[in-house]
């Protein structure tokens, strides 16, 4: 029998209500329930969060660093997406 530790899960913690969930690390667990309990014991021993997400690591789809350039290229030449691109008369002040 193979003596496995179960699959890897990624853990996300929300520090306070209203804040985004932030990745804090990963762990091994055999199912969702165990993943959530392990995440609590491992990543929130000091009230680091009030809500947890766990997701199977294998379910995450990510961009790859090799095509970082071309993949994000469409955003590179669109300065007009930024507020500083526009001229507002000084008389108007802050907008």
């Amino acid at each position: 029998m193979s003596d496995s530790q179960g699959p890897i899960w990624e853990v996300f913690v929300q520090k306070k209500a209203g804040q985004p969930f932030v990745h804090c690390g990963s762990l091994h667990a055999f199912d969702k329930e165990m993943a959530l309990q392990n995440a609590r014991d491992l990543y929130t021993r000091r009230n680091e969060g009030m809500s947890l997400w766990v997701v199977l690591s294998s379910a995450i789809v990510s961009s790859s660093p090799e095509d970082m350039g071309p993949f994000f290229e469409p955003a590179n030449d669109k300065v007009y997406r930024h507020p500083t691109f526009y001229q507002i008369p000084d008389a108007i002040g802050h907008m």
């Binding site: 496995s4 530790q5 804090c24 690390g25 990963s26 055999f30 165990m34 790859s64 660093p65």
Partner: protein, 312 residues
């Protein structure tokens, strides 16, 4: 041709002090170095639970028992953060544990010394965690992202470890004469093994050059050791204790302490498996893992049953 290009990108990142992430291309030797270092670090946290675990049932008060339990639990957590950081490099948990259990992998030599009295628990928190913190603070800025992030978490948790140890040393040093003697005895036994924790002298440290070049380490073994001695002496003096080193004294010109090197032959002997507790530690790890086997098997079976039920 293509590899050359990747290597240039890697070197450029190194030059710009950028962080390497798991999916980035990296030289094989960088990867190997990290797997070795991070897994040794993880094993040290896990084996490090044993000498302190030895005193949980005999802690002198309910408060000290709670504190020691929490500390040992933290060390287990540190081991787990580090194992998963190592796993981002393409090794897996079973492989890592197997290397530990068969004696193939190394862990910090310090945990092969016995904890004979309650004062040892004070000395470990104060000195051993203190030395570990010095190393780990540096590693918060290591070049590999998952390792650096694990270190940030760990450093946050470590400071209570050192403080609880020093508190024990204070109680004993300012207690009865027998208690003070116990504290002195613990300091005598843990001093040199703690200095060994920073690794061999720079001139004889085989892995240091690459580690510095790749910014895995940012300071050398000797630099960290010197800083540790400088920082610790005031704490020793406060306790009214003395370190077991006749040559130790403050050097005005270098604005740092002179001190004796630990016995490096002893270090080599302990690291290669012949310290006072190496066999005991390895046996305890193997036994704990074997005793957990039915739990892992049951959890796997339960997860499979539930998945089948969902699929049906």
């Amino acid at each position: 041709m293509e590899n050359k290009n990747f290597e240039d990108i890697f070197e450029a990142k190194m030059a710009k002090n950028e962080i390497i992430e798991p999916k980035d291309w990296m030289p094989d030797n960088y990867r190997k170095h990290l797997i070795r270092q991070i897994s040794q670090h993880a094993h040290s946290e896990i084996v490090g639970m044993l000498p302190e675990g030895n005193w949980i049932t005999r802690a002198p008060s309910l408060r000290s028992k709670l504190v020691l339990l929490a500390k040992v639990q933290d060390e287990g957590g540190h081991g787990l953060y580090l194992y998963t950081a190592a796993e981002t490099l393409g090794t897996d948990r079973d492989e890592l544990l197997n290397a530990l259990h068969t004696g193939k992998a190394k862990y910090s030599s310090i945990f092969n010394y016995p904890t004979l009295t309650w004062a040892d628990i004070g000395a470990i928190g104060w000195l051993v965690d203190g030395a570990a913190i010095m190393n780990q603070v540096m590693l918060q800025r290591t070049s590999y992202g998952p390792y650096a992030r694990a270190m940030v978490r760990i450093c946050k948790e470590e400071s209570f470890h050192q403080r609880q140890g020093y508190e024990i040393m204070c109680h004993l040093s300012f207690g009865t004469s027998e208690q003070k003697e116990m504290a002195q005895d613990a300091l005598n036994r843990w001093w040199y093994p703690t200095l060994m924790m920073f690794g061999p002298p720079d001139a004889e440290s085989p892995n240091s050059e690459n580690a510095i070049k790749w910014r895995i380490k940012r300071e050398s073994n000797d630099q960290l050791r010197q800083r540790f001695v400088n920082q610790t002496m005031e704490q020793v003096d406060y306790l009214g204790l003395t370190v077991p080193d006749k040559n130790l004294k403050y050097n005005e010109t270098k604005k740092a302490y002179d001190f004796s090197e630990p016995n490096w032959a002893e270090f080599k002997n302990v690291i290669s498996g012949n310290g006072p507790c190496n066999k005991e530690r390895l046996a305890a790890r193997n036994e704990a893992h074997k005793k957990g086997e039915w739990v892992r098997a049951a959890a796997a079976a339960y997860a499979k049953k539930n998945k089948d039920a969902v699929a049906a």
